[in-house]
């Protein structure tokens, strides 16, 4: 077991972004800077590849979705061409590691801002709001989160819903799946009593699936989703914030909504979701 711990020991500084390790690693620190990105001619952005409609790959193998749409614009404004972005697929569990190890410059993978995460990465200003919703079968509707106590809630791993329930309702049993398809499948199969997920998602799904109702359309506080950069990469962070501000002037995030989400969620949710200019009203 000596060997085991020593292997992981070597990588301590990488997983643990204390000030000490960042100052030690000046060399690698440079990597995410604007100058470095410009020199490279490509910006690397971490996105999901299977979270339709936020970050996914379409049938032609192209990255698409809300996050991707905005990311492309970042590339265009920074490097002059929206093709100058390299998308790196990330996983809920590896989002921070990708940033910390300089494998990507920005993470835009539906990354909800939380206190824990703030200690690991620097979030820019948000571009989207989320709140949670609960969908359940009409025959046994769940109309408040308290009703779920002693029952099974279906969630998707790495989502805000999971964190929310774990922290606020530890006595609700969770059934956690990797993929969205699976949570819906599981609810249909009666594997749990309700799905807790982003409300946009559950509302859109309930619309298409008769027999299910959104008993709780909005749950808990409102969370925001924002781009994240490696801790200490202030230069890039400032650039993103300025960029978001500039984009706000042309209502770009609304455009992004129209282009990617409207089809699924409809017009109704636009204002509930979009944050323009990086500022909550």
């Amino acid at each position: 077991s000596n060997n085991v711990s020593s292997t992981t020991e070597t990588s301590t500084s990488e997983f643990d972004t204390s000030e000490k390790s960042t100052s030690e690693n000046r060399n690698s620190e440079i990597k995410g800077t604007l100058a470095e990105i410009t020199e490279r001619g490509k910006i690397r952005i971490g996105v999901f590849s299977d979270k339709y409609p936020f970050g996914y790959v379409d049938e032609n193998g192209e990255f698409q979705g809300f996050d991707v749409y905005i990311a492309r614009r970042f590339a265009k404004d920074l490097l002059g061409d929206e093709s100058k972005v390299e998308f790196v697929i990330v996983d809920a569990a590896s989002r921070v590691a990708f940033l910390e190890s300089n494998k990507v410059d920005i993470i835009m993978a539906n990354f909800t801002v939380t206190e824990e995460r703030k200690q690991k990465v620097d979030f820019a200003n948000p571009y989207m709001k989320v709140s949670l919703g609960i969908v359940s079968p009409e025959s046994a509707p769940i109309t408040s989160v308290e009703q779920l106590k002693g029952k099974k809630a279906i969630v998707a791993k790495g989502t805000t819903a999971e964190t929310f329930l774990t922290q606020n309702y530890p006595d609700i049993e969770q059934l956690k799946f990797e993929q969205y398809t699976e949570i819906f499948e599981a609810l249909k199969d009666g594997r749990g009593d309700a799905i807790v997920n982003d409300n946009t998602e559950v509302i859109a799904w309930a619309k298409k699936n008769p027999g299910f109702v959104v008993g709780v359309p909005s749950l808990g506080g409102q969370d925001t989703i924002a781009p994240a950069v490696k801790k200490g990469n202030k230069e890039l962070l400032d650039w993103i914030n300025k960029e978001l501000e500039a984009l706000g002037k042309e209502n770009f995030i609304h455009q992004a909504y129209d282009a990617t989400l409207a089809e699924i969620y409809g017009e109704d949710y636009k204002e509930q979701l979009v944050i323009e200019g990086g500022k909550l009203e």
Binding site: V4, T10, S11, S13, F15, Y56, G61, I89, A93, I264
Partner: protein, 225 residues
């Protein structure tokens, strides 16, 4: 509805994408199997050393890969080691490295077992015709060991092929991930996509692994007796 389901496979470049994912899966698996086997042979030979020290070190190396999940190795090497020594390696490369090291460890064990099971007098009669240490291994021991270790080696190979699905964690898109992307993308339109995609994947894996296990059976029969 079912017709609609299977159509998912043929939409856009989906088939190509799946096959592309399969190519990556196979590439990682086969490169690692080949290099891992070669390293494994060297490792196995070293392992047959009489020195207690060398034997213990070899054992520890194997146990490291037996006990620590491959996922952890991928994580540690991709995110940890490459940043410590400050080189940027692609996820695919790291996957190949980890799978190769794993393959070498397990293969080394198989080779050791095969070498140790060889009758002692094969070594002696090799020596008796004046073969050098290396000649002995090259002409006599390794060729014979290879025959004995084949079933185990192919078993390992199919396990490696099947384990490649872990590499998505470090950003490599293997065939299962492509499948999941397709399923998720079509989830609103084609809720049965998962059945068809996973069914297709099931067949793809079978097509890769089955010939391997048949090959091992045939060679086993051929070299037996």
């Amino acid at each position: 509805m079912q017709n609609l389901g299977i159509s998912v496979l043929f939409k856009g470049k989906n088939i190509q994408r799946l096959l592309g994912g399969l190519l990556i899966t196979s590439k990682i698996a086969f490169i690692s199997i080949i290099i891992g086997s070669l390293l494994g042979i060297i490792f196995g030979v070293i392992w047959t050393s009489k020195s207690r020290w060398i034997r213990s070190i070899c054992r520890i190396y194997l146990e490291l890969f037996r006990i620590i999940p491959i996922l952890v190795w991928l994580f540690v090497i991709y995110f940890g080691v490459t940043t410590v020594i400050n080189i940027d390696l692609s996820g695919e490369f790291v996957s190949i490295v980890v799978f190769t090291l794993w393959g070498a460890a397990e293969m080394g064990d198989i080779v050791r077992g095969a070498l140790e099971s060889l009758p002692k007098h094969q070594i002696e009669s090799g020596k008796a015709i004046g073969l050098s240490f290396w000649g002995l291994y090259r002409y006599i021991l390794i060729p014979q060991a290879v025959r004995r270790m084949l079933p185990g080696a192919i078993n390992l190979a199919t396990r490696m092929v099947k384990t490649t699905s872990l590499v998505v964690l470090i950003g490599v898109i293997d065939v299962i991930k492509v499948g999941q992307q397709i399923i998720e993308h079509s989830r609103t339109e084609v809720p049965t996509a998962s059945f068809w995609v996973y069914g297709f994947l099931f067949i793809l894996y079978f097509i890769i692994c089955y010939p391997l296990s048949q090959l091992s059976k045939n060679l086993e029969n051929k070299w037996n007796v």
